[in-house]
């Protein structure tokens, strides 16, 4: 029975990792086609030299960093507030934003920006993308930080208050340090989600804000370009590394 379970689990992980492994392997293939033709870094070089890709990567990075900073800040504060005492409506709104289909959220935001920005003759751009990313990352941050908060002993803060600290001090000097691993994990999560996003970004992006997923989608639509494989493999390693770091941090 146990052996059966073990082989099932092994098969499950093969299923989960097959596409990623294949992607990585073929990104080193010295040929455009499925036939293996030798090991080569040419597609990585081609990707690096492709200015559209590098610009998009830079945009994605800037957007992800900005949205992560704001989403983590707002989300952490919100999680703390909810931990103290739950507000059903806010929690419900947060979870709703978590499960709203991306296409609905994307078109709603596009409509919102068109109505708000058009009268001011302000274009869509990096700012609209960043703001959208903050909005949909928020709930993820709250969930992660809240989960972490629930493992903390509320009596620690009580003790601080008894010893004469006010609420802000209790938060800043007792809870916050204990919360840091959770905050770090949440921010890594927010970064990943933002870096990765295609549906919403493609709808609200403007002239200057072509992101990496948008370029990859466009390139891949015109054929399986091996450069896409190379970029994808690089992203998998990067984001995978971040995710693993996040997991370790969340455990301490």
């Amino acid at each position: 029975m146990r052996a059966l379970l073990k082989s099932y689990v092994a098969a499950a992980f093969v299923f989960l990792y097959l596409p990623l492994v294949v992607l990585a392997v073929f990104s080193f293939n010295d040929s455009r086609f499925t036939l293996w033709n030798g090991f080569s870094l040419r597609w990585y070089r081609a990707a690096w030299e492709n200015s559209q890709l590098t610009h998009a990567a830079a945009s994605s990075l800037i957007i992800a960093v900005c949205s992560t900073v704001f989403a983590t800040t707002a989300g952490t504060l919100c999680a703390y507030g909810l931990w103290k005492r739950n507000t059903r409506r806010l929690t419900a709104a947060l979870y709703l934003s978590l499960v709203t289909p991306e296409i609905v959220m994307g078109v709603a935001m596009l409509a919102f920006y068109q109505i708000v920005l058009a009268p001011m003759s302000a274009p869509l751009g990096m700012h609209t993308v960043i703001v959208s990313h903050i909005t949909f990352s928020l709930a993820y941050v709250v969930v992660v930080v809240l989960a972490r908060l629930r493992t903390l002993d509320p009596r620690l803060e009580e003790a601080a208050l008894d010893l004469g600290a006010n609420e802000w001090q209790a938060f800043r000097r007792v809870t916050l340090p204990l919360l840091l691993p959770g905050i770090a994990a949440a921010s890594l999560l927010a970064f990943t989600i933002s870096f990765d996003d295609y549906v919403i970004t493609s709808l609200v992006a403007g002239v200057d804000s072509e992101t990496l997923p948008m370029v990859i989608y466009a390139m891949a639509r015109r054929g399986v370009r091996p450069e896409v494989n190379a970029v994808s493999a690089a992203i998998v390693v990067l984001l995978g590394g971040l995710a693993l770091v996040s997991e370790r941090l969340n455990r301490t």
Partner: protein, 341 residues
């Protein structure tokens, strides 16, 4: 606190672009310029160009519809010029700024049906839709009706575009591809649904790769994309169906919201230059509307029957026309029914 302020100011810093060089934002179809086209313009006029691409008119329209997309120059197909005008999206062209470039256009594009004074747009590239097929398909397809057969072994694709699929069905039935008659469209819908049993998928330009690799044997595809595919696989052939075929023309236009109208006009004038247009046409494997450019191209390119069909073939072609609202809604509903069947 200091850290927070610094972080808050970051977006502000990002907002300040390098204000020194003038910049033009160009939104074009993918694979529609030569590698040198943009850099040469940037050098000659000492400006920078922000260039991005799209795969369909709808993608472009979704961005520019509200009037604050930030783009200066776009390339709408002939049948979306009217909707764009109705929504007040285009800026009128000043012919004086185009320095006689319009004279380079081929005769049939100097007063096209969608903009007879060329007040709003300048024809850029044009093409038709036909059938690209692998030599191994026997007998080789010659008409749309041949796509309703299992000689393709199920490895057939049609374009993921309601206008194109309905056009093929309408032409197969002997009607005009711009038909708005509900009865005719209803029959076309039935045909499309009947075709699904022979069909692998609805794919656009991405089928090119599968044609080259051999996954797909036959596809309804634009001439220009077919030409690109044929480079990758010498077993591929192209034909313009007997019953007729759709024609489209992509035009350069300036958006009303543009803050750089003079520079945009310079860009349009640049694209009209015969050497530039010839270079684009040859590198992108597409037919240009620029007659003077055609004269500059080598004979073997001009003889390419895929891109430059003979006059008698061309006579079977029919330009796509803009659709009025009810017709558009009817076609859209039929497309949903076809996809859902």
């Amino acid at each position: 606190m200091n850290r927070r302020l610094f972080l808050l100011s970051l977006p502000g810093l990002l907002g300040c672009s390098s204000g020194k060089t003038r910049r033009l934002n160009v939104f074009n179809w993918s694979d529609y310029v030569a590698p040198d086209t943009i850099p040469n313009f940037e050098k000659e006029f000492a400006v920078s160009i922000r260039y991005a691409t799209y795969e369909s008119n709808e993608e472009m329209l979704a961005k520019v519809m509200a009037g604050n997309s930030g783009w200066d120059v776009v390339f709408p197909s002939n049948y979306v010029i009217l909707p764009m005008l109705e929504n007040n999206l285009l800026a009128p062209l000043d012919h004086r700024r185009l320095a006689g470039g319009l004279d380079h256009l081929a005769k049939q594009f100097q007063a096209p049906s969608w903009d007879s004074d060329l007040k709003w747009c300048v024809p850029y590239m044009w093409g038709g839709t036909g059938i690209v097929y692998n030599r191994s398909v026997t007998p080789p397809p010659e008409s749309w009706a041949d796509l309703w057969s299992d000689r393709h072994g199920g490895r057939l694709t049609m374009l993921d575009d309601p206008a194109e699929v309905l056009a093929a069905c309408l032409l197969k039935l002997g009607y005009s591809l711009n038909s708005t008659d509900p009865a005719e469209l209803g029959q076309a819908k039935q045909e499309a649904i009947a075709q699904k049993q022979f069909l692998r998928a609805y794919l656009n330009a991405e089928v090119q790769d599968q044609l080259v690799a051999g996954d797909i044997l036959t596809a309804q595809l634009w001439a220009t994309t077919s030409a690109l595919a044929m480079h990758g696989n010498t077993d591929l052939r192209f034909c313009y169906p007997r019953e007729g075929f759709p024609l489209y023309a992509d035009n350069a236009a300036i958006l009303r919201e543009s803050s750089q109208p003079e520079l945009a006009h310079d860009f349009l004038e640049y694209l009209l230059r015969p050497e530039v247009a010839a270079e684009v046409a040859m590198k992108a494997e597409t037919a240009t509307a620029n007659g003077a450019a055609i004269e500059k191209m080598p004979q073997r390119v001009r003889d390419n029957a895929t891109l430059f069909p003979s006059d008698e073939t061309l006579a079977r072609g029919e330009w796509f026309a803009a659709m009025a609202s009810e017709a558009q809604q009817l076609r859209d509903r039929l497309w949903t029914e076809i996809k859902s069947a």
